[in-house]
């Protein structure tokens, strides 16, 4: 018997341009699932809740009723070694939101951004040590206690050195496996680390614990041009503000699709630069390319 094909969905972006770009996909019935940055209303504003527009809450309620809503955290800062009041408040608000709507699962980013003197920051990687694994398991438990649904982690795109890429898969497995936490595998993030560090992307991808993957992210990004480093080669950023690099990312998606037996959803995420009709058309084409890749992978599976 073949595997059940995953849903294919979109990450809901809090921008009017997203609504305009994505509306034809919703109207055509092509969006099976919705992922939302669950802390959009309180994450950046340190707990002062800023309500969503009505069109967003209606979509969230609709997908929650269909049991096809997925939550994704941005601001918790999972591996912060000393939690602060902001993070405690974040957990309270997560519990409230998960009591309000039904989520299939909730994920957060791997890494950390909050530390003693800093309320927020960009995401940093963490060295892979037993202490960091213990910290990760503890924080995953806090997430689960608050969300009261399956919880998990997304592999990080940023890296400062090779170990942040080569050790990430086993680091995540060590944290997630004991509680069967959800691995959100972002294939653009894997490619970003590979291209920035001169590593083989396919080999990096194959190191991940596919049995824990319940969600895949596919996205785009942009390039950063270094000006001070001796090596001036451009650096890939997982900024979600550009089209999906299909030639690089779709083969990685196919590799993952063939191996993830517990996969239930594939999400396309893209933000910013959706102001022109050409950009919006590219957004929709990218989503359809992801959908086609999923359909092809599971048609081959059923054959």
């Amino acid at each position: 018997m073949g595997r059940t094909p995953p849903r294919v969905g979109l990450n809901l972006i809090d921008e009017e341009a997203f609504r305009v770009a994505a509306l034809p996909l919703f109207e055509a019935g092509l969006v099976d699932a919705l992922e939302v940055d669950i802390d959009n209303e309180w994450g950046a504003s340190r707990g002062r809740v800023q309500p969503r527009p009505a069109w967003q809450t209606e979509l969230l309620d609709l997908f929650a009723e269909d049991d096809a809503l997925y939550g994704h955290g941005v601001w918790f800062s999972l591996l912060t070694a000393r939690l602060d009041d902001r993070q405690q408040r974040w957990l309270e608000l997560l519990a409230e939101e998960c009591g309000r709507r039904r989520y299939r699962h909730v994920t957060e980013h791997f890494g950390w951004m909050t530390s003693g003197p800093f309320i927020q920051n960009t995401l940093f990687p963490m060295p892979y040590t037993p202490g960091a694994v213990e910290l990760g398991r503890d924080r995953l438990g806090l997430l689960g206690d608050a969300a009261r649904c399956p919880v998990g982690l997304e592999n990080l795109a940023s890296a400062l050195g090779p170990a942040d890429a080569t050790e990430q898969a086993v680091f995540l497995a060590d944290i997630l496996a004991p509680s069967r936490g959800v691995l959100l595998l972002d294939v653009h993030n894997v490619w970003t680390q590979a291209v920035n560090l001169g590593l083989p992307a396919d080999e990096l991808l194959r190191g991940y614990p596919f049995d824990l993957v319940r969600e895949i992210h596919v996205s785009g990004g942009s390039w950063f041009q270094p000006e001070h480093a001796a090596d001036r080669r451009a650096v890939r950023m997982d900024s979600h503000d550009g089209a999906m690099p299909r030639a690089e990312v779709l083969p990685l998606l196919a590799t993952a699709l063939a191996r993830c037996d517990q996969l239930e959803v594939v999400i396309y995420e893209r933000r910013g630069r959706l102001g022109t009709e050409a950009e919006r058309a590219t957004y929709r084409d990218d989503f359809c390319a992801v959908r086609a890749a999923v359909e092809q992978a599971f048609a081959e599976d059923a054959a």
């Binding site: 939690l83 400062l160 920035n196 270094p226």
Partner: protein, 73 residues
């Protein structure tokens, strides 16, 4: 709310030191020099010694965009 969650003071010290280092917006060569010499990074010397200059520069740029210090600290 009661403050829950494990605390790891050594990892917290590493995070504080890294945050401060990147917040200072130093050129990659100076970041590398401090990573090599600062006792705050002694436990993780192999990790910090492997940092790539280009990736340090990107981290500097994103820290510039996102970092927010607590008032008075």
């Amino acid at each position: 709310m009661t403050c829950r969650g494990l605390t790891d003071d050594r990892l917290a010290a590493l995070q504080d030191a890294l945050s401060e280092l990147f917040y200072a917006q130093l050129p990659p060569a100076e970041v590398a020099r401090r990573l090599a010499a600062d006792p705050a990074f002694a436990e993780h010397r192999a990790w910090v010694a492997s940092f790539d200059d280009r990736l340090v520069e990107v981290q500097n740029a994103t820290v510039r965009a996102w970092a927010e210090r607590r008032p008075g600290r």
